[in-house]
């Protein structure tokens, strides 16, 4: 059992005022039997209206917005979350969906061969694919975008945690393993992180292909889905000609 203090802050600034700004946020730790939120607090700008809810994949969401013109949007989510290291999520909902390619996790024949060769190598296929993805990729920010597909990552062989996670997710599914894309916090200071969960027949196990390790100790999950499109931490839309700048900072510290 470990407990973590998290502080997740996002500052969105607009180069000129915008109106009808609608948002949907995933900024609170998941509650799933593995993680327990002991204490939490979300700070929003006063003039924003928000409703709590759950999305299709049972992730916690906060959604709403502001109609009047404004030029900044800042929110902070902090709290304490306890993580049980001996229990696992065993939710079987949507298993068929997590076995099929999605918009950002499509495959081609080359990827299929790659995935099948990992499967026939013997041993734990997910672990092998995690290592293979880690070895073939070069961590390189700004070489990809939030909508880069797994097929393109496979040929580019570089990207950020989202791309690593998409590639591993796509390859696992091609090898016949149900897999889902996960985002959340990792111990230390930085940005939000992304990794993968695979279903071993009974429960979901976390793998982090960006670091080539299991995603367990030091990881706090926010949300999951078929791919990043299903569970962005922040999605917004507004009317106006402004350029939007987003700054995210996350601190996760073991207590």
């Amino acid at each position: 059992m470990s407990s973590y203090l998290y502080n997740y802050q996002t500052v969105v600034t607009f180069s000129m005022p915008v109106r009808q700004h609608a948002v949907m946020l995933r900024c609170q730790p998941a509650e799933n039997g593995v993680q327990t939120v002991v204490q939490e607090h979300v700070t929003m700008p006063d003039n924003y209206q928000f409703c709590p809810g759950h999305d299709a994949f049972s992730n916690r969401i906060l959604y709403g917005g502001i109609m009047r013109p404004h030029s900044a949007f800042v929110y902070v989510s902090t709290g304490i979350v306890r993580r049980d290291l001996d229990t696992y999520d065993s939710d079987c909902g949507f298993l068929p969906v997590y076995s099929l390619p999605s918009q950002l996790t499509g495959i081609n024949s080359e990827m299929k061969d790659f995935a099948l060769s990992a499967k026939t190598a013997g041993g734990n296929t997910a672990e092998i694919l995690c290592e293979k993805v880690f070895n073939m990729m070069r961590y390189a920010p700004e070489t990809t975008t939030v909508i880069t597909k797994a097929e393109d990552v496979f040929s580019l062989r570089c990207g950020v945690c989202q791309d690593y996670a998409h590639l591993m997710t796509a390859l696992c599914r091609a090898a016949g393993i149900s897999a889902r894309y996960v985002n959340g916090f990792v111990e230390g200071t930085g940005q939000t992180h992304a990794w993968v969960e695979v279903f071993d027949g009974r429960r979901w196990l976390g793998y982090d292909p960006t670091h080539n390790r299991t995603a367990q100790k030091g990881y706090v999950k926010i949300a999951h889905g078929r791919d990043a499109n299903d569970c962005p931490v922040n999605r917004g839309i507004f009317y106006g000609n402004a350029v939007q700048t987003t700054q995210i900072s996350v601190t996760l510290q073991e207590l």
């Binding site: 009808q20 409703c51 999305d55 299709a56 969906v97």
Partner: protein
């Protein structure tokens, strides 16, 4: 005979001139360029006898009832999958399946409020369903306005013939929207705007039903409630949205993030039961060309009745027996790509060169789930007027079924014909024409 033909030719000119004046157009994107074209009207009506209509009406109500039950089942208990009537992958691999709709309860269990069922009549007098359109079927406005104009041009026609009134479509829509409306809100028709191929229809139906025609940006969500802001920026509660924007563009917070046509967070208001969406979200899973094969089975499964209407004989390469049949008989079949609509992705084996056949076979072998094959039906041709002569052309019929508290069939429909004598594809996106459909009262 000649005087009659002359009269018909005159009538055609007059009606088409009026249609043009009213701006009855059909927009088409060809090579990414938007082009509006007139949807040519032919003055020779399709006549459906009372007996035929009673048969069609019964079959259409049965089919749409089963489809609505299927949609409820897919997004709730999934009994039809558990009982192995429909294979799991046909549901989950369908582009139209939306996990976001799981557990959402549309009022009265109605998903397909407006269904456009495409039928053809065979030379043997047998009707076949070619396609179910349960998302945003368009086309009802064309026969409505054509009849309206014809009535003015030639009032005698409808005095001399016992034709069922077709003005009732607006009443059917209005009643259904009233049935579905939540919380005393107003009814709106959401249009993507004037560059949509069916913009004429959106504005026409708004006028005829008394619903407000709303444009993107005029509908907002606050605390899970939808408001219309188009009148002096005041908030008017919306209870029912007949949306002519497709699922993937309807809520940029949940679906296509770049969509400017949608209503941010409308999905949450819908899930909370605070607004009705006409049609419901997620219907694409039931009008998928692959699922079509299973519709007669749905009728038996949910209603314990024999299907009244037949599908065109269809084969799924997914099943081994069908797969072998298709590869052996591809030259005589029509092959359809399940992911395409609007008459695209449809090829006739007999039109293909040997190389193309080989190519198509390889596609079917590598992705069997993506294709269906059908026998080519020998349609009964309908007469159309061209250059002062009556000639025969292929035609289909889109029947409109409206489901609110009750399921009713509109006593008319859109009859489309292909102007090209060699073409079997009559979709309006492919540049055909239309004619009035007379349902006879006696």
């Amino acid at each position: 005979m000649d005087t009659r033909l002359n009269e018909l030719t005159d009538r055609r000119e007059t009606v088409n001139k009026w249609l043009e004046r009213y701006g009855v157009r059909f927009g088409i994107y060809k090579n990414n360029v938007f082009k509006e074209q007139l949807f040519p009207f032919d003055p020779v009506p399709r006549i459906i006898t009372k007996t035929d209509w009673e048969y069609l009406e019964q079959g259409l109500r049965q089919r749409v009832t089963a489809l609505n039950k299927f949609l409820w089942d897919i997004y709730h208990d999934k009994n039809i999958i558990r009982d192995s009537v429909v294979p799991e992958e046909f549901v989950y691999a369908s582009k139209g399946y939306m996990p976001e709709c799981e557990g959402v309860d549309p009022k009265g269990g109605v998903y397909a409020h407006i269904s456009g069922i495409d039928l053809v009549e065979g030379k043997n007098g047998q009707w076949y369903v070619l396609e179910d359109n349960l998302r945003i079927p368009s086309g009802a406005s064309y026969p409505m306005i054509a009849r309206e104009i014809t009535r003015k041009v030639s009032p005698k026609t409808f005095a001399d013939n016992a034709v069922a009134e077709n003005r009732g479509y607006a009443d059917l829509l209005r009643q259904m929207m009233t049935d579905m409306t939540v919380g005393n809100g107003i009814a709106v028709i959401l249009t993507p705007g004037r560059y949509n191929s069916a913009y004429f229809e959106h504005s026409y139906l708004a006028e005829k039903t008394g619903a407000v025609l709303a444009y993107p940006g005029e509908l907002i969500v606050e605390n899970n409630v939808v408001y219309y802001t188009g009148i002096e920026n005041k908030l008017n509660r919306v209870g029912c949205i007949y949306r002519r924007v497709s699922d993937e563009y309807l809520d940029p917070m949940v679906f296509e993030a770049s969509s400017l046509l949608g209503i941010p967070n409308v999905m949450q208001a819908y899930k909370a039961g605070n607004v009705a969406l006409i049609n419901a979200l997620g219907n694409g899973v039931a009008d998928d060309k692959g699922i079509y094969y299973f519709v007669p089975k749905m009728v038996e499964y949910y209603l314990h009745e024999k299907p009244v209407l037949q599908n065109a004989p269809t084969y799924l390469p997914y099943f081994k027996e069908d797969y072998d049949y298709i590869l052996a008989n591809i030259n005589n079949l029509v092959i359809k790509d399940v992911s395409e609509a609007g008459g695209y992705g449809v090829v006739f084996g007999r039109d293909l060169s040997e190389d193309k056949i080989k190519e198509l076979k390889n596609l079917i072998i590598s992705e069997p789930r993506r294709w269906i094959a059908q026998e080519v039906i020998d349609f009964k041709d309908l007469e159309i007027l061209e250059d002062g002569q009556l000639i025969e052309r292929k035609a289909d019929l889109r029947a409109f079924v409206v489901s609110g508290n009750e399921t009713k069939v509109w006593k008319s429909g859109l009859t489309r014909f292909s102007r090209n004598p060699a073409s079997f594809v009559v979709n309006s996106s492919q540049g055909g024409g239309f004619k009035d459909t007379w349902v006879m009262l006696e």
